[in-house]
Symmetry: D2
Subunit: 316 residues, 4 copies
């Protein structure tokens, strides 16, 4: 089918290419003309603006926004005047789930459907496919199924564990619930990701600094080893093995680790529901700390140690 | 080659069977005659005692202990009088790495080699193979290579990410360093495992109790979905999907979660090396807490709330 | 001066009594006629309703609300129609700081001042005085100064550490900033309190279960000991010593520890500002866990241990 | 009575002075002749060596070691040849409790008593008195009671909360149990201290960076405010108020926070006893992190973010 794609960054451009490889037709727009030209080289129809994109799509339109969470409202303001009843808009970015309901209601007032899709896969999605967590009305979700099918990895991406007909989840996309449910599940997904990453990072840090033997541990070989047969095999471990093979000392990285919002929102949702999430919170705080956000607290600790014990620490 | 196997529990019996399937000859002993009979049915030579096992092995002998960490010393006391210079003993269980050096030195005084092997794979190892983390002298490790090769999953167990000749790590076994290094790496592996498990457990708890939508989330479908294309795909997630499909409410489990020592030892090693491991520690404490070990602390909190605020909590 | 007091629970009734002991005149209302009668017995003028209270106060009025955070809006709706330009309303409860700005603006539109006061002191405040964290306009705060002075503990409540004229902070009340600043500082105060309480609770739990000696530690004596000369002396430790002397085993308490909102809001504010607060979060999660909120997570851990290791835990 | 004091650092010198102020006679030795001269100026008898100190004491001798944990064995090796049956040695430093039993047994073989005393009070102890946590035999502890009495703060250091005769705990010293019990209780004390300090540090960091108002919070005034009437009043808060008044920005401190062993030993003891101590562990890890010990872990996180998402963080 035909899809408009707005936002041709790393994610959007690759998704457009995967859709076209799956036989779909893509009309593409981005503020960067170069990004449009690049995806046009792969077969997409380039659009010069959101209104141009809307004009080039046959009705009822389907448009996928793949832009940063902070500019979704601006992108919708740009696009929606050119949409009509019966059209459907997808927000495939990392939007906070609480923003989806209001947007859906505003569009529904004009007969336009809104679907939120949490999209996982990163730069590998072009090749591996994207894992899609979907919220919206059943009819809108059903209508977009060919798109989801083409973007998703498909059932063969993991060994089958169930019997009976193959479910959508096994193909890599799932209608998780009403507006916001897709982004909610994606938010939890990312918070789990933070926890998993932190567990590996602590482990390799412990191997590096805690091993009591003369020879330093070969961290890249250990990561490679654990990929096979161990309980902790995972895709993140695959990537860890790649990273440690190429950069054994990781000197190319400074380790000021960003967080993109979902981790904070997830812990916030946990606070509201009284769900204990010590691992998620620890992983998130470690990222804050990696950026020096503990600085004032540490200086107060040094000051207190000086006050009660006369301890002079560096700088005191 | 020929191997003596002492300890035929879930792990040892399956390892014996995988070795025999790989063309090796196994002489097997366990305190349970039934366990010996069972593995003999699969082709092993049964032994009636450790001394009988030693007598049935051609010299130089290779004996693999697959017994709980707490009885390794007893098993060695039982076996070693019947060993001779040139023999090699493997401890494949979950021994603390600090115990390996002393044992190795005691055996080395009699010309016997000691090899520590951290073994991951659980009840699935028979089929998937075992991930082997190995410590000891190069000569002893080299001599056991056919055994490791047969137990390990082999390179095809994960997509290859390196070029050049296939390394042992890619086949699923790795000589990690001197005596103790195998168990050290296995200890860190298990602590990572605790962290990964806790991250998933928190995430599904948050999906269950934190989702703000009317329809409850289908946790089994979400786990299945994430297996394909997402950043958090892993073997533990595969198992999570299996568990949630069979037991959607998990009512079959009470949730008093055991810990088998490695998590504690890993955090202890981190303390000694000043390595921050907040995720590992949080995962470990969550297990303690699941067993009610926070009870007195919580009662003190209630008592304090009563003292300063007059708050009466249930039971006060 | 004269003050209307609405809400005569543990906190409000004691505050009214302390104000009267300080020479102020109190007009008091509560939904419970008994509570009104009780405080009238101590010299207050009882009111039959919010409108009656407003009628009994000379203009410009000053009214202090001491009600649960969840009913402040209702109390304001009840009261404010009977207020006039020039009056001032204090919210002395545990309101979320983000609610103060909107309320202040709504009242300001009618010329009514709003002051938020975080109040610490618990059931001991009648005797010890209340620590007051204040937000609002300078003029409104200045006008209420006699009230704050009477409620606060006064400078002699702690050894003086500064020279120069005694500051309001040293008398026990502080104008912290604009609307919301009082409740913000109180929120942080309570989150610190959670952390302090958890530190003591962990310590006494460790003394109880971790001491490797034959004789059990005398926890009450240890708490008493630490009150003098140690680095960890505090008012919470004073209360701990009291509680442990009366209830050495703490059997009177079940340990399902409530949290009253500020801890969650504080961690949420930390998330928004990227401030790492691992201790506050751990203390909060421990309270959630004390109420069984980790149950589903723990059951998933047991289920996973069964899946990969065949471990059968109680109930499995 | 007469006491030998070995180790005249900040703690030992002040303790000697407090003892002399209490009417006791002190014979003092330190490797630094200047330190000996200084305490001699306050009335002590200086000794030129451990053997000289032993010679100057009347038998049965009482000698107090106030040296770093790492040199206690050396100090004992230096001193003990000059001791005789009936003498008593006190280790008043921050020794690990597991070291006390072996030392006590070695000395007991020669008829010499060993007493372990955890000493809290820091540089303020000269004036405030020291809180003493004591392990050893009842007879040895009883014999040293005049010394403990003089060092301890005395009952008036805190408001009395009990009736009946004043107990030793209320005077500021307590016989906690057999050899090691004093240092065990001190170890837990210090781990609580870490947790308390971290709770305040997080709170003030949150006030500094999380307050959503235009005017920055006056942290020194807030600390001063909380000293009176609030639930979180404590000696550490007194010191916080002092530090923030003198150094509002804390720029004099770099915040590389040391830890002196007890925190690690306490968490280790908690691991061994399966006692959850998330706050203590978080406080300890924050200190490790303040010293950059999370560096490699953070760089791995950055590397992973680059691998899966193409995210380039500073330095990548």
């Amino acid at each position: 089918m035909q899809l408009g794609m707005i936002g041709l960054g790393r994610m959007g451009a690759n998704m457009a290419r995967r859709l076209m490889a799956g036989g779909h037709q893509v009309v593409a727009f981005d503020r960067s003309a170069d990004a449009v030209a690049e995806v046009a080289r792969h077969g997409a129809t380039g659009a010069a603006s959101a209104s141009d994109l809307a004009a080039r799509l046959s009705v009822p339109r389907a448009v996928w926004l793949m832009v940063p969470a902070g500019v979704v409202d601006a992108a919708l303001a740009d696009l929606s005047p050119h949409l009509a009843a019966g059209d459907v808009v997808v927000d495939g970015g990392n939007t906070r789930y609480t923003d989806d309901g209001p947007r859906a209601r505003a569009l529904a007032a004009r007969g336009i459907e809104y679907v939120d899709v949490g999209t996982s896969g990163g730069v590998w999605g072009l090749e591996r496919g994207y894992c899609l967590m979907i919220g919206g009305t059943p009819s809108a979700v059903r209508r977009l199924e060919p798109i989801f099918e083409a973007l998703a990895p498909g059932p063969e991406a993991a060994p089958r564990q169930r019997s009976g007909p193959v479910t959508p989840a096994e193909r890599g996309f799932l209608h998780c619930g009403p507006h916001g449910a897709g982004h909610f599940v994606k938010m939890v997904h990312n918070a789990i990701e933070y926890g998993l990453m932190a567990a590996y990072a602590e482990g390799f840090n412990l191997l590096k600094h805690g091993e009591p033997f003369d020879e330093p541990a070969d961290l890249g070989a250990i990561a490679e080893l654990w990929r096979r047969g161990s309980v902790i095999g995972s895709w993140l471990l695959d990537l860890t093995a790649r990273a440690l093979e190429r950069h054994p000392s990781l000197d190319a990285f400074e380790g000021h680790v960003a967080d993109s919002g979902e981790g904070r929102w997830a812990v916030h949702a946990a606070l509201e529901a009284a769900v204990p999430t010590p691992v998620m919170a620890a992983a998130l705080f470690a990222r804050f700390t990696s950026r020096g956000e503990d600085d004032f607290a540490n200086r107060l600790l040094s000051a207190l140690r000086y006050e009660f014990g006369g301890h002079r620490e560096p700088g005191a």
